[in-house]
Amino acid sequence: MQLPIPQTVRADEPTHKIEKMKNVVRRIKFESELDLEFGERIADKAYGQRLLSCIQCGTCSATCPLAHYMDYTPRKIIAMTREGFKEEVLNSLTIWLCASCYSCTVQCPRQIHITDVMYTLKREAILMGFYPRRLPIPVLAREFYKRVLKDGRNTESWLLISLYLRTNPFKMLRESVLGFKLFVRGRLTIGKERVKGRDQLHSILKHEKGGNTI
């Protein structure tokens, strides 16, 4: 099943939309294509317990500030996860668009920790290398992760630079003006923030590792 991608997301690729329109999308799902344990697997992860008790009321989608940019509304993600539509879920933009504002979590009448489920799905996606390539969000997450792993603290200037280098260098030019403004106001530092007990930190994170996910 092809993944329809909202054109808003790839605004930087005008041709993309047209191609998508030409494609014929196959809309049938054979049970054999599903991963039937997927739902339970996700539910077993932290704060996933109530996932299976979803009644598909759509409160999450309605309260989500980003739902209108998602390829599948949060409700659909839950349904698909439960039914084992693993590929669609892990390939979806939805999980990456979640800005973790917890609106859904607070309002869900079944008290499903939707935001935490989204985190679980993000991790799953990275683990399986499923997430859409060149989509900046996972890259940002990864860069952030590396930076903190290295210095123990994050320095926004460097984070952004490395982000744009890895996604869309042209964007950096666009941002440079803003960057400069911030800089003159002393809001962007060139010197990196570092933790003194870095070795300590690293050993903690090393110990934690069940095989590095990057």
């Binding site: 009644i55 759509g58 989608s61 309605a62 509304t73 009448p109």
Partner: protein, 670 residues
């Protein structure tokens, strides 16, 4: 006195029930029967498909006579279900019924375990315990108590009214106690009723006046039960009659006093109109209020607040019915049975701030809308919003305070249908566009689905999605000055923003605020949600765990009118059965004193909550008043000399049970 086995040897008959597959599929019934055969005292041990069936019971009777058994044990379901059945079987067999012991291997074993070996082992242990227990059983006399023929009914809603009339028509004397100034309950507030759309008042008010005029019904409105003593058959009830400050005997409900009240306009929110308009301190709840009596509300009446009122109302009343000196009185009555029909309260919509109730004037609860569309309502049935507008678009939000773990988990059952009804009425009154936002439409009643069809044909919008928020935040010019409902249309899969003029919140049904107090007062149980708990969800839906007390209507759980009426009828029938039997058997599990062992230490006296124990100052011994003893056995556990014993639960019996449960047997697997 039936034959008893005290003389001579103990001859035990053991029967184990398959209960179809219910027990047989998890417990190796045969193995248990075989094992019990080997136990001391057991003369006969056999299995049977359905012990509770007639042949099953006859089996017991036959064996008692032919094999001169003097102890009977049946291992089957819970004693709460069939103990009585088997006891009477034993009695028919010519043996004292209290030589019988029941072993629960269904609710406590086969239905809760999966591992056959473990379950069978448990069944064996329990059976062995019973075998050892019955050695100590004694012949006992069953206690009988007379049933007082009068009935108390609490709550004057449709359920209470129906139960009262049913019993009264059967010639029983009924006391109907209602806490409000009038009977009628919620139903009196409704406009039309689904699915037939006949007007609530038209079908209710005749019944109300019947109640008022029925010779067998004593109607006490504006009253509350404050005391409940005694037990099934003879309850003593205390009823507090709040002062109306109007003499019931004199007032004819002409309402002149109300017109003459120095308040030209009402000041306090009108309860009956869901607070949509104001009423005066002296008022009558609504035109057809029953009884037709005015009430004075001391909280708002000037005379009560300052004492310097012109008392124009007094002058207005030519029958001199108004009496500011009136005091509350406590009535004491004796009844044999009680029916609780205390109803429900609606969910407080303020608890869900997302829907803006109390913040945006044009957000209404369903109950308010019932009054708003009602011809005798505050607007005379014309649909004028709080801001004076006539709505062109209306959004009805389902499941407000239902199916929501953050508020109430349960489905309130009535909201779907009354929302459809209101949708119809609103369209009828205003020809507005009506949107229903629902999670599921539950129209599972007689001709309910057909009503749903009708609404679909009337082109009412149905959006399947729970509303996340009602807000005045407009992002499009078309939304300016409107209330915007945000929900996902889950069938289409997109989020929708629907601007409307009026929002109706289909609020759910909750237990009454004082349900817990009532429960304690009448000594019955509540379910987890706080509704009164029935004795059995299917087979005893109107009985409670307290004999002689029955429940009807929404106090037992959310219910619509037909169901409430049906249940009220059932409760009345249950009460009638008791009354017409004239007496009821009580467990003879009372306490007695072994005189020679009592040291007269007084320990037990403080234990008994019923003052059933006194002390013979001459003999210096404790005396038990059998009539007062309820058989809890708390005193028995406290008696230091072991002089107190409880029938059916003597120490020996329980010790032998413990012993039986714990003695290892050879072929045991663990």
């Amino acid at each position: 006195m039936h034959g008893n086995g005290d003389n001579g040897s103990i001859r035990i008959g053991f029967y184990i029930c398959h209960c179809g597959h219910n027990i047989g599929s998890v417990v190796d019934v045969h193995a248990v029967a075989e094992y019990v055969k080997t136990l001391h005292g057991v003369v006969l041990s056999q299995e049977y498909k359905y012990m509770c069936s007639d042949p099953g019971q006859e089996l017991i009777q036959k064996d008692i006579q032919e094999q001169s058994l003097n102890r009977i044990i049946v291992a089957s379901c819970s004693p709460l279900l069939h103990e009585h059945t088997f006891r009477s079987a034993v009695e028919k067999g010519g043996l004292n019924p209290y030589f019988f012991q029941m072993v629960n291997i269904r609710e406590n074993v086969s239905w809760v375990h999966t591992d056959m070996q473990a379950a069978t082992q448990k069944a064996k242990d329990l059976s062995r315990a019973a075998v050892q227990r019955v050695f100590h059983h004694k012949a006992l006399e069953t206690k009988h108590v007379k049933i007082h023929p009068d009935v108390l009914i609490v709550g004057g809603g449709i359920a209470g009214i129906h139960a009262a009339l049913t019993l009264a028509n059967a010639g029983k004397k009924v006391y109907l106690v209602e806490k409000d100034p009038t009977i009628g309950g919620h139903m009196a507030m409704f406009d039309k009723t689904f699915p037939t759309l006949d007007c609530a008042a038209c079908i209710l008010t005749p019944k109300m006046s019947q109640v008022k005029n029925h010779p067998n019904i004593t109607l006490w409105t504006y009253s509350e039960v404050v005391k409940v003593e005694g037990y099934v058959g003879s309850y003593t009830i205390g009823v507090r009659r709040k002062p109306r400050y109007v003499n019931e005997a004199l007032c004819v409900g002409c309402m002149d006093c109300i017109d003459k009240c120095i308040y030209k306009e009402g000041k306090t929110p009108d309860e009956f109109n869901a607070g949509l308009n104001k009423r005066k301190p002296i008022y009558i709840p609504f035109p057809q209020a029953t009884p037709q009596l005015v009430v004075i509300d001391p909280k708002t009446c000037i005379e009560f607040k300052s004492g310097h009122c012109k008392k124009t109302c007094v002058d207005a009343c030519d029958r001199k019915a108004i009496d500011f000196k009136q005091k509350e009185e406590i009535k004491e009555i004796s009844v044999g049975t009680i029916i609780l029909a205390t109803g429900y309260q609606i969910f407080d919509a303020k608890r869900i701030p997302f829907y803006g109730y109390g913040k945006y004037p044009n957000v209404y609860t369903s109950l308010e809308v019932e009054r708003l569309v009602n011809a005798s309502g505050p607007t005379g049935g014309e649909l004028i919003l709080r801001d004076g507008q006539h709505p062109k678009t209306v959004g009805i939000i389902h499941c407000v305070g239902s199916r929501d773990k953050n508020t109430n988990r349960w489905c309130s059952r009535t909201c779907c249908m009354y929302s459809l009804k209101l949708a119809h009425l609103l369209k009828e009154h205003t020809d507005a566009e009506v949107y229903n936002f629902y999670i599921d439409i539950r129209a599972a009643g007689k001709s309910y689905e057909e009503f749903y069809d009708k609404l679909l044909d009337e082109n009412v919008h149905f959006v399947r999605g729970r509303v996340a928020e009602v807000t005045d935040w407009a992002v499009r010019p078309s939304e300016e000055g409107k209330l915007i409902i945000r929900a996902e249309d889950t069938l289409i899969g997109v989020v929708r923003r629907v601007p409307v003029d009026m929002v109706v919140l289909a609020v759910g049904m909750e237990p009454q605020a004082d349900a817990q107090d009532i429960r304690r007062l009448f000594n019955i149980s509540c379910s987890t949600e706080g509704f009164f708990l029935e004795r059995h969800p299917k087979l005893a839906p109107v009985d409670t765990f307290t004999d002689g007390i029955f429940i009807a209507g929404a106090c037992q759980g959310p219910k619509d009118i037909p169901d409430s009426v049906a249940q009220a009828g059932a409760a009345a029938a249950q009460a009638l059965t008791l009354i017409d039997t004239g007496e009821i058997e009580l467990e003879p599990n009372t306490v007695f004193v072994v005189q020679e062992e009592c040291s007269g230490c007084r320990t037990c006296l403080t234990m008994c909550p019923y003052n059933a124990i006194s002390r013979d100052e001459v003999k210096q011994k404790a005396i038990i008043n059998e009539a007062l003893c309820k058989g809890c056995g708390t005193c028995v556990a406290a008696c230091p000399s072991g002089a107190l014993k409880q029938n059916l639960f003597e120490d020996e019996m329980i010790f032998s049970e413990i012993d039986g449960l714990l003695t290892m047997e050879q072929e045991a697997c663990c």
